[in-house]
């Protein structure tokens, strides 16, 4: 990283180095390194494609996901229905296109919530140290041993069962959950359980960064501590968080698919890839292709995020390459 440059420039010229234009070079560098990684670029390309499909689903999908056509159930792939129809006569391709919305939203928003919860908690724990750190970390340890899937199912059970009937302060939440087709529940469930890893990661980063030579150097030349935090600690602690968040997206997508598969995810008729597999499972003996396309969509999206995450890790921390 820019560590050696920094030492060279320490002293009177340190102020010039601190100019924003120079500082951005870490990210520009990283981006250029990322573009040289073929797998990561392909992954990024596919993710952009899925995001575009999700945004323009209304334009792209040949049919609405609400259209049932009981006269043409279980149609094999044809000109009218490129991927065939399911047991309600719904067009599988259209369901797949609308399903991208759920997966991408869950993946990105859940990760955003996780980062927004985990980074401050981890940073506070690392910065303050002492008793605060101990209490937070013991809590994290205990939550870590708690089976997360159980917690998620309990939260989902509550959101599906009690929230719609709840009044008072919970009523707006219930309304929001309804508007998002049950997605809010998935966000809350994942956000409540998965911030632990990010918090631990950030805390560890802050702890080790505090001891680095270049922080010491910056302190020695009189850079104010707030500037050290904003300019050095946080950007450097952020790189692993970006990698972890990118690699967390596919996990969230997989979790949503799994939850929808057991009927604990989004509410029908909102189409989700996991729900498509579950619906296809009933007819797998006669129409095995019904479970193929959603699984392929999940697998390709997962792979893309994994490639991108690995690429980001190599790009942001070249020292870690080939590990």
């Amino acid at each position: 990283m820019s560590q050696s440059e920094q030492i060279r420039l320490a002293g009177p010229s340190a102020a010039t180095f601190e100019s924003p234009a120079r500082h951005r070079s870490l990210w520009v560098d990283a981006f250029q390194r990322l573009l040289r990684n073929k797998a990561a670029v392909i992954g990024l390309g596919f993710i952009l494609f899925v995001v575009l499909v999700a945004i323009f689903a209304d334009v792209l999908a040949p049919y609405s996901y609400r259209d049932q056509d009981l006269g043409s159930v279980y149609q094999p792939p044809s000109r009218e229905h490129l991927l065939g129809t399911n047991q309600y006569g719904k067009d599988v391709l259209s369901l797949l296109i609308y399903g991208a919305r759920v997966s991408i939203t869950v993946g990105l928003v859940a990760q955003l919530i996780i980062v927004l919860v985990g980074v401050p908690i981890g940073a506070i724990s690392g910065f303050l140290g002492g008793r605060v750190d101990m209490i937070i970390m013991r809590f994290v340890d205990i939550m870590y041993a708690f089976p997360d899937l159980l917690l998620i199912i309990i939260v989902m059970t509550f959101i599906k069962g009690a929230l719609p009937k709840a009044g008072g302060p919970l009523a707006p939440l219930a309304r929001l959950n309804e508007l998002t087709g049950g997605l809010l529940g998935v966000f809350i469930a994942l956000g409540l359980t998965w911030w632990l890893t990010v918090a631990r990661l950030v805390r560890g980063q802050i702890l080790s960064l505090k001891e680095r030579d270049y922080i010491l150097a910056a302190q020695a030349v009189g850079v104010p501590s707030r500037r050290i935090m904003v300019r050095h600690l946080i950007p450097n602690a952020l790189a692993p968080v970006i990698v972890a968040a990118t690699l967390g997206v596919p996990q969230a997508i997989m979790m949503e698919a799994g939850l929808s598969f057991i009927g604990m995810g989004v509410d029908p008729p909102t189409p989700s890839w996991g729900m498509m597999i579950q619906e296809g499972a009933h007819a797998i003996r006669g129409y095995p292709y019904l479970v193929l396309s959603p699984a392929a969509a999940i697998a390709l999206t997962m792979l893309s995020f994994n490639f991108l995450g690995d690429g980001l890790r190599d790009a942001l921390d070249p020292g870690m390459k080939d590990r």
Binding site: R138, F139, D141, I142, M143, A145, F146, P147, D148, L149, L150, L151, I153, I154, T157, F158, G161, A162, A166, L170, P250, M254, A257, G258, F261, I262, M264, G274, I277, A281, I284, R285, P288, V291, A295, I298, A299, M302, L303, N306, D322, R323
Partner: protein, 343 residues
């Protein structure tokens, strides 16, 4: 610190962890505004205040929260996990009945990922960027990126419905459960062996094969990947060059000098993913109608059966910490330097 002291200290540390887990699961399950009474009484009984009050009193739901927790904790120390609201049986009995099936599945999955993943990782490190490496990479990518429930469905469809090579869902063929009634461990593969019923043993293994491999495929991918990368790192070390230069056979260098040192990260990953495997049992057991703890936990959660949820949480946390303790102990066997360190 000696090994015994280390193990003793870790075992003692489990006590506050378990108290913490029980407290958190208690708070979570009791702070939800959902009412278990509504889940268990019919609409008609709900309208009768006497029935509702009796129900609350019977299950201790009418007392203040801290008192409920205190009673729970006291019972817990005596090995009493309470009574399930759903099955009306002691939670401990339920766990005893369902745990062995899940353990059999989880241990099977772990063995499968170890015995396939480590060789795959070693081979792909030695043959870096050759065909075998690429094949191993594809396998591990598929393992990490395909939904477990989909793999379960499709493998059941192919190997059972289509090819008929493996038996369908369940732990044994239909009507055979009576055959292994004398429960010893509750794990059919072990029980049948102990009783010398080899025919039944083979059938039990056949039934176990598909769900265990599906459950373990994610771990398989991880193990392969980690073994490969840590083998690559170890192979560049000086002592490997020394071993080679003194004329040791390559086989010996790889197995004795490189692999043993490369195994520590692999063991860590296996230990950590055991938790993931236990969580994966929820989906796998549902598809393979495997009567285990995963299905029990799922049903308990959807019914807000608090005593059962807390029992399962404590049990899984206990298993998870025990596995991590075993992992830490195994470090000492893999790396003698860690035996005397001040851990």
């Amino acid at each position: 610190m000696t090994m015994q002291q280390f193990i003793l200290r870790r075992l003692l540390l489990m006590i506050p962890l378990l108290i913490g887990i029980s407290l958190i699961s208690f708070i979570i399950s009791h702070s939800l505004p959902a009412d278990p009474v509504a889940a268990f009484l019919s609409q008609k009984s709900m309208e009768d205040p006497v029935i509702v009050a009796t129900f609350r009193k019977q299950w201790g739901l009418d007392r203040p929260l801290w008192e409920q927790y205190w009673i729970y904790l006291k019972n817990l120390l005596q090995g009493n996990l309470g009574v399930s609201l759903r099955t009306h049986r002691p939670v401990l009995d339920d766990l005893r009945q369902f745990l062995p099936a899940s353990m059999e599945l989880a241990i099977g999955a772990t063995f499968y990922s170890i015995f396939l993943g480590i060789p795959l990782g070693v081979v792909s490190a030695i043959k870096k960027d050759k065909l075998l490496d690429h094949i191993a990479r594809v396998i591990s990518l598929v393992g990490v990126s395909t939904p477990v429930f989909w793999l379960a469905l499709v493998s059941l469809y192919i190997f059972y419905f289509r090819l008929g090579w493996l038996p369908g869902p369940g732990r044994l063929d239909a009507g055979m459960e009576l055959d292994v009634q004398a429960n010893i461990t509750g794990m059919y593969t072990i029980d049948t062996l102990l009783q010398g019923k080899f025919d039944t043993f083979i059938i039990a293994v056949k039934h176990l094969f598909l769900p265990a491999s599906v459950l373990g495929i994610g771990t398989l991918g991880l193990v392969t990947r980690i073994t490969r990368s840590s083998m690559l790192e170890v192979m560049c070390q000086d002592y490997i060059r020394t071993a080679r230069s003194k004329g040791l056979r390559e086989r010996m260098v790889i197995l004795r000098h490189a692999l043993k040192n490369a195994l520590i990260p692999t063991v860590t990953v296996i230990g950590l993913s055991f938790g993931g495997i236990m969580a994966g049992t929820v989906l796998t057991e549902t598809i393979f109608t495997w009567p285990g703890i995963g299905r029990y936990a799922y049903q308990a959660c959807t019914k807000l059966d608090f005593p059962a949820i807390m029992g399962v949480s404590i049990l899984i946390a206990l298993i998870f910490s025990t596995v991590n303790l075993l992992v830490d102990i195994s470090y000492a066997f893999l790396d003698p330097r860690l035996r005397t360190g001040g851990r």
